[in-house]
């Protein structure tokens, strides 16, 4: 089976599992929306402030809850399954790309729904021309977060405290994504160029993709 066929097969099974297990839709997504609702209440309903911080709260919660999507149960392999995949000749890089494809679909859907909820709940101050930039940044963050989560999941595979440990690894590494995303919209309000920030997002995503593919084999051997 070719590299891309392996990747698509892994992505297909991953999405099938997520449809059946359903943790993203049934648990993580409602939890993220409830978390959005906590902020205005915690800020004593100072609604002018709520509108100002809406987009920032979206990025913060998107990253934090998005990590749970990236580290979902359906994307976890036991040692026995990884051994089987090795004996089937599955390229670890193809597994990374497959997880990236399925995770990217889930993460994009997840973040877009959370974004919609934030818009309804926070009535955010979005500068002129901000909506396309916001949506575009959301997609780039979705890809980057999926890549980070998949890599962190591989590094922590087989460990008992995997989810917490992987989240700890992902959070600081996600800073370039948060900075690029928040600054790209902020640049519009300041009337400065958005291009450097969009390029930061694209560069981060590309670097993580290259790292994921290049490190797939060494990670596979290190985690046997």
């Amino acid at each position: 089976m070719s590299f891309w066929n392996q990747a698509f097969e892994i992505a297909r099974v991953d999405l099938t599992l997520e449809r059946r297990i359903g943790n993203t839709l049934r648990i993580t997504l409602p939890f993220a929306v409830v978390a959005l609702m906590v902020f205005p209440l915690a800020l004593d309903l100072r609604l002018a402030l709520v509108s100002t911080i809406g987009i920032g709260v979206f990025w913060a919660l998107g990253i934090l809850f998005g990590m749970q999507v990236a580290l979902r149960q359906s994307a976890t392999d036991t040692r026995e399954r990884r051994d089987l995949q090795a004996l089937l000749g599955v390229d670890p890089a193809a597994r990374f790309v497959g997880r990236l494809l399925s995770g990217g679909v889930l993460m994009s859907g997840f973040l877009l729904i959370v974004l919609l909820a934030m818009v309804v709940l926070f009535d955010p101050d979005v500068p002129d021309g901000g909506w396309p930039v916001l949506i575009m940044s959301t997609f780039f963050v979705a890809i980057g977060l999926t890549e980070l989560g998949t890599l962190a999941g591989e590094v922590t595979t087989g460990l008992s405290n995997r989810t917490v440990l992987a989240s700890l690894i992902v959070a600081p590494l996600a800073l370039p994504l948060i900075i690029g995303a928040s600054q790209s919209v902020g640049a519009l309000s300041r009337d400065t160029g958005i291009l450097p920030w969009i390029l930061l997002l694209i560069a981060s995503d590309l670097a993580l993709a290259v790292a994921g593919v290049a490190l797939a084999q060494p990670l596979e051997e290190a985690t046997r």
Binding site: M1, E80, L84, A86, L87, G89
Partner: protein
Amino acid sequence: MRLPRIAAIVRFEQVGVSLGGRLVLRDLDLVVEPGEAVGIAGPNGSGKTTLIRTAATLVSTDRGSLEVLGEDAAKRDLVATRRAIGMIGHQPTLIPELTLVENLNHVARLAGVDIARVRRALQVVGLDEASHRRAEACSFGMKRRVEIAHLLLTRPQLLLLDEAASGLDESARDLIEALVGSVRQRGGGCIVVSHDRGQLAELCTRVASLADGRLETAR
């Protein structure tokens, strides 16, 4: 891909393997010739699983040399060699939320095997009527049968069984025996690991003992 004619299926020469800073296998010499099924008996913690995973090239050796299907196991690219290896380990490898037939279709696709043969494989192992049950709702024995069906599809040249027959009913054990026979008949080799010497005596052409990481001479 056809592998070249080889003298031995597996050749361990003075192999040592360390895991977690502990020497698990030491000075291990073992040769499995084509058509042989070698049994390795030993108590828990003797290194049986490590031996199996080393033969599968999933664990690197620290000392000595290992050849699997004519290839040096220290080689970088072992994809072709691994594809000719079949293994049944302690724990089933099925994805719990997929049905039995979905699990088998998935591994068949990854192995590049014609999906049309999957139904036939399930018939032979007696699971054609149960194939639409999710793996999580199936017994250990049923999951083992699916793993056997997978190996019937991929026809490995080296078969590795780690306590594969433990906990199985008589008909499933007969299947394991048929699988071993099939591999031997094709000129392949088998390593069967178990703590049950009686089982090994039934399945294997000779039996060796593994104790404290060392292999005693095979009888």
